[in-house]
Homo-oligomer: 337 residues x 2
DNA sequence: CAAGTAATCCGAAACGTTTCGGAAAAGTGA
DNA sequence: TCACTTTTCCGAAACGTTTCGGATTACTTG
């Protein structure tokens, strides 16, 4: 069906070796035969068979993008941009991206190494994993170049890109404190996720720095989604009516919290200030616009690809920290005593 | 490095033929040698080299997911779910998904056929294309099994899954009419997209059916995004202050319109009813919750994969219509005279 | 003109599979 | 025991590339 190198060789009256060398721009092929070969290749609409190529080159130019929890509802707000960034950058660097959705459950059914080996990935980017997910350990122990997103690890073949969650959370809380708030609730993500502990750390740090005692009753764990934020807020507020501000570990939870506030008759930001985390696009749009800690997800994707290519080039893994940025909008307000 | 079939053959003391046959569960291999081979394979953590396999089998078990405009802002609200559906279903049917972002521009740089040939896709799902995009024609003319999303075409190797935009738009407008509205604005998507013409058709149909004259000044074209909806509404409303309802060809534009309404001092739905299209997740959440025409994007992804596999099985392409559903929420209201 | 060098080319092996066409060994029935 | 089948195995070719190691031819240069 499709034209092969043999067809070209036959038509050009040369050996397949010469065709291969011409097509790959090697030096020792005559200018004229080169031209002839290129012309025939064009004419036959020749495209090299990648399977054959990969086989002999032992390189697929494909990176596996393994995403755990790809299909969780609302996941798109965060991971989509990462995917786009990866996709763009990979294309730029001449790599293809093979998308593989997985889950904590499925990770138990097929090992990370098997998953990758079977597909001959040159390297893989692993995202969406939670603490305790098998693939984290397995990736670190395998010799497949891998960059893990969101989990700070570094080995010979394994790097990571993570946001500075501690400082992000810190600046969120500091912002609220700067606005005069002292009773600050914290709706964190689920415990099994690495970022949650860091964000808690940042929360506590900011409190400490400002001489505000940490109160365990002020923090709740939810699932990063709207409903979770909504429920958590209701519970937290009923036990701590003195609170005037809440820091949410995701924008979606922040919206959930905000809706619940309105439902309960509190105005945002007049009665209660709310700050989110992520900087998803609707924060710029839905009123009141959400003050948040913005993560450049697109750039995270780009960085991941770049790091992976460094690993492929032989360098050791490291941790790339991305600093999130405080974006002040309408959902936080100076506290009036 | 990685174990090959040869290694197993050597260890088991049999030929590679036998190993291959055992691994592929052929019948003519002795029960005991079979067991021995399987055991050694496990022990060596053998995974077949897919490049070699693809080469001889002339089949990659990979489908190309070619998405034009993957990286457009806010695109995630729609396409993400489609991707997830495709991903899940492909995995279920034992196919891998290779993601390729493209654009109208890039389509001019490399032909659809070359793009696919180079990667040895078994088949392709093409999404996000606009009328006039080169890949539509090229896909239809190539012999690569392809399903196109959103463009109703059908050839021997080419099918499509599309939503019934006409009836979707019709029921949106009918809903507004049922609520007593007669002056109904329409903020459509850009003209270059296929769905836009169908939605306009549905809009007009509903008007006609109810004896309402069509007014060209009532319809504007925008870019499917928030800002577009916002601008379009302002312009439309300033010229047609008698309007009491607006139908938007995307939820995002509906939100843009809604924001602008609020800004202009109109209440939604009290002063103006708004209905969107798509049913993205925030329509359930952001107040007032948006009445909309819901498209099951996940199911569209699944259907696309299923159709592609039918094409791969040798059947002819056809058009799969998905019916969108009217979901009545808070942004539309009975008109009080 | 001889000898050395540069420019072009090619044969064959290799990559890791699958599979065709048989061959050897073992079992069957008379 | 013989002729036949069945069971179990294997050699070799093929898939479409790349590349090593040389071979041929043409060009220099003194």
């Amino acid at each position: 069906m499709a034209a092969t190198i043999k067809d070209i060789a036959k038509m050009a009256g040369v050996s397949i070796t010469t065709v291969s060398r011409a097509l790959n721009n090697h030096t020792d092929v005559n200018r004229n035969t080169y031209k002839k070969i290129i012309k025939i290749a064009k004419q036959l609409n020749y495209q090299p068979n990648s399977s054959a190529r990969n086989l002999v080159l032992k390189k697929t130019n494909t990176i596996g993008l393994v995403i755990s929890g790809l299909t969780t509802r609302s996941g798109h707000h965060f991971i989509y941009d990462v995917i786009c960034g990866i996709n763009e950058q990979a294309k730029l660097r001449n790599y293809d991206v093979l998308l593989i959705g997985t889950s904590t459950q499925q990770q138990k059914e097929i090992s990370f190494k098997d998953l990758c080996l079977k597909r001959n990935f040159d390297g893989v980017i692993l995202a969406g994993v939670r603490t305790g997910d098998p693939y984290i350990e397995q990736a670190m122990q395998s010799d497949i170049p891998t960059v893990i997103m969101g989990v700070p690890v570094a080995t010979a073949f394994c790097g990571s890109v993570v946001t500075e969650d501690v400082s992000g959370a810190f600046s969120a809380v500091q912002h609220l404190i700067d606005f005069g708030h002292r009773h600050i609730l914290f709706i964190n993500g689920h415990k099994e996720t690495v970022v949650s502990q860091f964000r808690l750390e940042g929360y506590i740090k900011a409190l400490n720095k400002n001489g505000i005692p940490y109160n365990d009753n002020y923090v709740a764990h939810a699932n990063f989604e709207i409903e979770g934020g909504s429920q958590a807020l209701e519970s937290l507020l009923s036990h701590n009516p003195e609170a005037t501000a809440v820091f949410c570990a995701s924008d979606l939870m922040a919206y959930g919290a905000m809706m619940k506030c309105m439902e309960l008759g509190f105005k945002v930001p007049d009665d209660i200030s709310i700050i989110g985390f992520d900087g998803i696009d609707i924060t710029e749009i839905v009123k009141p616009c959400l003050t948040t800690i913005y993560q450049d997800r697109w750039q995270m994707g780009i960085s991941a690809v770049n790091m992976l290519l460094e690993l492929l080039g032989g360098s050791e893994g490291y941790i790339r920290f991305m600093s999130p940025k405080l974006v002040i909008r309408e959902s936080t307000k100076m506290l009036i005593k």
